[in-house]
């Protein structure tokens, strides 16, 4: 394999971004967008992994390395970005604002890949911020009312998350005196720092209740952007959490319980809320919330039972990769649906789309099943105390996902075709679907799964289908239709009216009167007689004052004056 210098991973997209600023180069660079992440892919797949690099002069001293944890993340992230970029090229071919989109995409890509290889806090944070902020551009791209609302919510959460993350990272760094990212998981790190960092990352992860931005953003963004948002960027949150949490060292029951509660809430809430939405992309997004909550649950378990961490960690990675591919395939499929008219072609597409959906629901023989199995294996090592609820939780998760997938597919099936979407948007999707199918074989050493487990994996899907059919029958019979929820949940209450003015108002009226105001004065009329009086009185007063206060002298009057001259 080719030896890829590690710093090329973020540098290639950045270099392209710089080139992108030159108008002449733009068309060429644009077509290179799908290639940009490949440096990362190469680096991840290289054997041996690229050597760590340290660049002292860059920022506060930058360090890049391909860690064992980062490597799979880099791999699937890069693949995802590449395919999403490809589809974006096709999808936005005629969009007048496409350059802006690609610029943001390159920046987000650089951030996403960079943060996975960054080894020092500053550059990790920098890449993280680059990713978050430029994704804002991806979310906003369409600039409709929905996009603006989503963008505002997104940037609010993102910035808040950034800031909290910054606070946590800096606290951790200053407490340890170490600027390496690895140090943030160390024992001297204050709990506050860990909590802040975790909070910042959980925003990115989409954990309840910090998930509010997520369905909005995914629904609002163009499909390829949703794909990377969901497939790659959410994983950055997971990656961050896996890096900064003190996992595998000491049990943190409190933290574990909190995290577990959040995760369980996500698991339950996500399907409930998602089912009420009418936008397939929003439904898919809720599914992401659920899936990410599942991964959070794994983290919670590892916090509670450090010993289980070595087993849970690969499972989480596996889960992440699986979810990345599957969800990306689904999102990339959305334009494909748009591009296909209703009829057999669409049915074919739907069938192919069902594959990642089933995988997500944990259908045996899919990457989903493999991942779930791995997680179960990992959790088994930790099953004591409240962790006995993990099993039902996993079931619930699968059930919820299955229901959401059914809902999504139904919505997609009914989606109106868009004539301006070219058919070749399907190519990246096909490639992604291929990856999903090939998923189980891509895993280096898959966990052993038995048939019983396979069957139990099937259970939630069956239940879900049954439920769905039941509900459908009931609704059809009662001539009812599902009321859809406005996007944004509680935030919809504060959503602006159609043409919102972002946080602006006219400046306050200018205050008057700071300075001394000078008015016309009457002409000065000298009053000499008063002056004369003044002279008289001043002289008299001075004379008296001097006479009275002076040192007493011998008083000898009657010296004749005439003898002077």
């Amino acid at each position: 394999m080719i030896a890829v210098p590690i710093w090329l991973v973020p540098a290639v997209p950045l270099a392209l971004l710089v080139a992108f600023c030159v108008p002449v180069l733009r068309p060429g660079v644009r077509s290179l967008v799908p290639i940009a992440p490949l440096a990362g892919l190469l680096a991840a797949l290289a054997d041996p992994v690229p050597a760590p690099a340290r660049i002292d002069w860059l920022m506060l001293g930058t360090e890049f390395a391909m860690t064992d944890l980062g490597r799979p993340f880099v791999a699937f992230t890069a693949a995802l970005w590449s395919l999403a970029g490809w589809q974006a090229l096709r999808l936005l071919r005629d969009d007048p604002a496409r350059d802006r989109f690609f610029a943001c995409m390159l920046m987000a890509m650089a951030g996403n890949l960079g943060l996975l290889v960054a080894q020092d806090i500053a550059s990790f944070y920098a890449f993280f911020a680059a990713m978050s902020l430029s994704s804002w551009g991806l979310v906003l791209h369409g600039m409709g009312a929905a996009q603006r609302f989503a963008g505002r919510v997104y940037i609010g959460f993102a910035i808040a998350g950034e800031v909290v993350l910054f606070a946590g990272l800096s606290l951790a760094s200053f407490a340890t005196g170490d600027t390496r990212l690895a140090a943030t998981a160390g024992p001297e790190v204050p709990a506050l720092a860990t909590a802040l960092m975790a909070a910042g990352l959980l925003v990115k992860l989409g954990a309840v209740p910090l998930h509010l931005w997520l369905p909005l953003a995914h629904a609002a963004a163009p499909a390829p952007a949703s794909a990377v948002l969901s497939g790659a960027m959410l994983k950055a949150g997971l990656f961050g959490l896996m890096t900064i949490l003190p996992l595998g060292t000491e049990a943190e029951p409190g933290a574990a319980a909190t995290l577990a509660a959040i995760a369980l809430a996500g698991l339950i809430l996500a399907p409930c809320l998602g089912l009420l939405h009418g936008d397939p992309k929003a439904v898919l997004a809720y599914s992401s919330v659920g899936q990410m909550s599942l991964m959070a649950l794994g983290l919670a378990a590892a916090l509670a039972a450090p010993a289980a961490w070595p087993a849970i960690a690969p499972a989480l990675v596996l889960l992440a990769a699986h979810h990345a591919f599957a969800k990306a395939a689904l999102f990339l499929g959305v334009p494909t649906i748009w591009a296909t008219a209703r009829g057999p072609a669409r049915s074919a597409v739907l069938v192919l789309l069902a594959l990642p959906a089933l995988a997500l629901a944990g259908m045996p023989a899919t990457s989903g099943a493999t991942a779930k199995a791995a997680l179960k294996t990992g959790l088994d090592g930790a099953a004591d105390g409240w962790l006995v609820w993990l099993e039902p939780a996993l079931f619930a998760a699968s059930l919820g996902t299955a229901l959401l997938m059914i809902r999504a597919l139904i919505l997609l099936a009914g989606a109106a075709p868009k004539p301006d979407v070219a058919a070749d948007v399907s190519l990246p999707w096909l490639a992604m679907s291929g990856l999903v199918v090939a998923g189980p074989w891509l895993v280096p050493d898959p966990p052993v799964t038995d048939a019983a487990a396979g069957l139990s994996d099937l259970a939630p899907i069956v239940v879900a289908v049954a439920l769905a059919v039941g509900v459908a029958v009931v609704l059809r019979g009662a001539r009812l239709s599902v009321a859809t929820m406005p996007p944004g949940e509680v935030l919809s209450l504060v959503a602006r009216r159609p043409e919102p003015e972002p946080v602006l108002a006219l400046s306050a009226p200018v205050r008057r009167g700071h300075a001394l105001v000078v008015r016309r004065s009457r002409p000065l009329t000298p009053r000499p007689e008063r002056g004369a009086l003044a002279i008289l009185f001043v002289a008299a007063a001075l004379a008296f004052a001097m006479a009275v206060t002076g040192p007493e002298t011998t008083h000898e009057p009657e010296t004749p004056m005439s003898d002077t001259l």
Binding site: L533, L536, A539, E558
Partner: protein, 299 residues
């Protein structure tokens, strides 16, 4: 004599009050002239005949004429008294207070008066025997020089402000005998005072004032040459006094190394020479103050 002094003082006060309060300019001026007379008498009573001479010359003679001339120019008094009753009372109070302080202060003066003995001790070296002249033109000649400068400035002021030249009414032939007698006499008196200054009360100021009085009489009588050239000559004469004095001061420094330090032995000559020029200068100045300038040719 105490009764004399008291009456004199009361008269003086009365004149002053009249000069201040009369609502007729001529009356005020008349009162002022009388006050001048009384002041001269006071100086006599204060044993200062030099000052009395000067006051007599300036106060009684020239100022009255000057005031009348001004009064004619500015016209009669209009409007009520300035400031009203309250101002008058305030003024009276202030003046009273100040006078009281002064009275007390002067009444209380005591201690050594080192100056007269000092003058007496150095009188010999001064070149003159009249201590006043010694002080004015030798010991403190610088003061005198500056006083001459005051006159020169006054002259320059009059020249500059350029009041309309006075054209006195022709007084007729009767005034001729008066002029024929008075003017030569005035010149004579002036010369007398000038020469006498070295030894007795007198000097350039007094002489100049008397001379000016004589010349004024001539002017008022409409006698003698008039016109631009003579007025210009008077101007030059008036200014010359200062020039001569300053020149003498510098010349003296050139000779003796001391500013205003006359060569030893020749003091009297220097003093008389300076005084002579000052006399003419003062006379010309006073005259011009009355007549006003002739309009100087523009550049």
């Amino acid at each position: 004599m105490i009764a004399f002094d008291i009456v004199l003082t009361l008269g003086l006060l009365a004149c002053a009050a009249m000069a201040l309060t009369l609502r007729d300019r001529t009356a005020s001026i008349a009162a002022f002239v009388v006050a001048g007379l009384l002041i001269a008498l006071s100086w006599v009573r204060l044993a200062a005949p030099d000052v009395a001479l000067a006051e007599a010359a300036i106060g009684a003679g020239v100022t009255g004429a000057l005031f009348l001339r001004s009064a004619r120019r500015i016209g009669p008094i209009t409007g009520g008294p300035v400031g009203g009753m309250s101002a008058s009372i305030a003024a009276a109070l202030g003046a009273g207070g100040l006078s009281a302080a002064l009275f007390w202060a002067f009444a209380g003066t005591s201690g050594p008066v080192p100056y007269p003995p000092l003058v007496a001790a150095n009188l010999e070296a001064s070149g003159v025997t009249n201590p006043v002249t010694a002080v004015l033109l030798n010991f403190r000649a610088w003061d005198t020089l500056l006083e001459i400068a005051v006159l020169a400035v006054a002259l320059a002021l009059v020249v500059m402000l350029g009041p309309a030249p006075v054209v006195p009414r022709a007084l007729g032939e009767l005034v001729l005998p008066f002029a024929r007698i008075v003017v030569p006499l005035a010149i004579l008196v002036a010369g007398h005072l000038l020469w006498q200054g070295a030894t007795a009360p007198g000097g350039a100021f007094q002489a100049g004032a008397v001379l000016a009085g004589g010349m004024l009489a001539l002017v008022l009588a409409g006698i003698g040459p008039a016109g631009e050239r003579i007025v210009r000559g008077a101007l030059l004469l008036g200014l010359a006094g200062l020039a001569v004095f300053v020149g003498a001061a510098l010349a003296a420094e050139g000779l003796t190394g001391r500013f205003l330090g006359y060569p030893a032995g020749a003091e009297k000559a220097w003093i008389i020479a300076i005084e002579a020029s000052l006399t003419l200068s003062i006379a010309a100045t006073l005259c011009l103050l009355f007549t006003g300038p002739v309009r100087r040719p523009h550049q």
